[in-house]
Symmetry: C2
Subunit: 253 residues, 2 copies
């Protein structure tokens, strides 16, 4: 540890500091404070599972089931966060999976939860879901309400906690950026209720909460929405990094 | 800028520092010093091109020609470095491309150089090539020597400089990790000559040089070779991050 500390000292004096500070994410972190700033402490041999919809899926190779596989982790925030965890803490022997599936709403996570969550025996479960629970009411006749979302989400986490009482939870806030192709005025104020529901659920389950809406809103000060998410829902590569940095802020490695 | 500075101060006091220091890469940076520590200063509107073989290609979507596309950047160090550049410096409006192709040796880069380099008008060109120039002499009867590699590489860069005298160059050292499936005793000492040739070429072209061999060698102190590169040549996700962090250390954003 002394080598590490002396290196840290050298590095911080040597100009590495300025280039590695995630200023945009950091600036958004008052949102994390608002949800009590819960963090998840990662431990040796943790099995970390990313779950969600297309934002998480990000064209992962579905038939590659291996942990820590670049192809299986997609090209969004799970891949970037995994690359940092595995690079920075080889001694922790993390096993990291992505099982996001494009288009999923909460009930669709539930339908595949045995195979795509419980069978993997996660010790850390990160979920980002909700945008489709709302969006699909506008575009494909889905009949669920925010109460459906809330009930389905609670049931999913209850089921998970029942099987793995010690699982540590990370819940991402559904977000949307207005004025881009997928997000028009019809989203508001209804969509905001889904965001609030996710936060309530995080609170009631003691989950770490990532305030993605606030993080995107702050990022708009440095570049237009389309820079971070071309359609208002799916992140660009810059948006994926923004989300990964936010994700890293709620874990202690 | 005052907001940024005050945030930097807060962040460094708030515990972000420790989690963002690339200690393994940093510890390897004496290698960079040995090649005079040249860095590339990035500027607004830079067109940054990653070129090379499978290590760079990393299953990028070949028919996606767009700049800054997650799918087009593959799942290795170019994707991770691009995510950091685009996240950290939106005001720079970088256009970032990956045109690595699996299996390529230098002469094969030359064959597609008009379409896959010159036509893109790069202002920053990052090349990592050489492992196949050696490896294929062992496994598929390729007749090139280290002199072929050197001559082909110089010709490629001369051609590039002739068209774009101001292009800034980044050259990655070919590397291999011994004792894994792709790398046996037959590689040595011959392969070391290719590493030395890449460094000489970087020096003679005034390129920033990334000492990947030293970076991997140092990383072996924290985890076995297979953790960083399962076959001794292709990076794992941890290895990809290791390389991306090293790449970021030779640029000033």
């Amino acid at each position: 540890m002394s080598t590490r500390r002396s290196f840290l000292k050298t590095a911080s004096l040597g100009g590495l500091l300025a280039v590695n500070i995630p200023e945009i994410v950091g600036a958004a972190m008052p949102g994390a404070a608002a949800s009590k700033g819960r963090r998840v402490k990662l431990s040796k041999d943790d099995i970390i599972l990313f779950q969600g919809d297309s934002i998480t899926d990000a064209r992962r190779k579905k038939d590659d089931k291996a942990a820590n596989s670049p192809a299986a982790l997609g090209t969004s925030y799970p891949f970037i966060a995994a690359s940092e965890l595995l690079w920075r803490a080889p001694e922790k022997s993390f096993s990291i999976y992505n099982r996001g599936v494009s288009g999923n709403k909460v009930y669709q996570l539930a339908e595949r939860w045995d195979a795509d969550c419980l069978d993997l025996k996660p010790t850390v479960l990160s979920v980002l879901v909700g945008v489709n629970d709302f969006w699909h009411t506008l575009v494909n006749g889905y009949k669920g309400t925010v109460q459906t979302y809330r009930d389905d989400y609670r049931a999913l986490l209850d089921r998970t906690k029942q099987k793995f009482p010690e699982v540590r939870l990370i819940i991402g806030e559904p977000y949307a950026v207005k004025g881009l192709s997928a997000v028009d005025d019809k989203w508001y104020p209804a969509f905001d209720e889904y965001r609030a529901a996710a936060r309530e659920i995080a609170d009631s389950f003691g989950a770490a909460f990532i305030p993605y809406q606030e993080i995107y809103d702050k990022a708009l000060k440095s570049a237009p929405g389309s820079y971070w998410t071309p359609d208002g829902v799916h992140p660009s590569i810059a948006g994926a990094r923004l989300m990964a940095e936010a994700w890293m802020q709620v874990v202690n490695v």
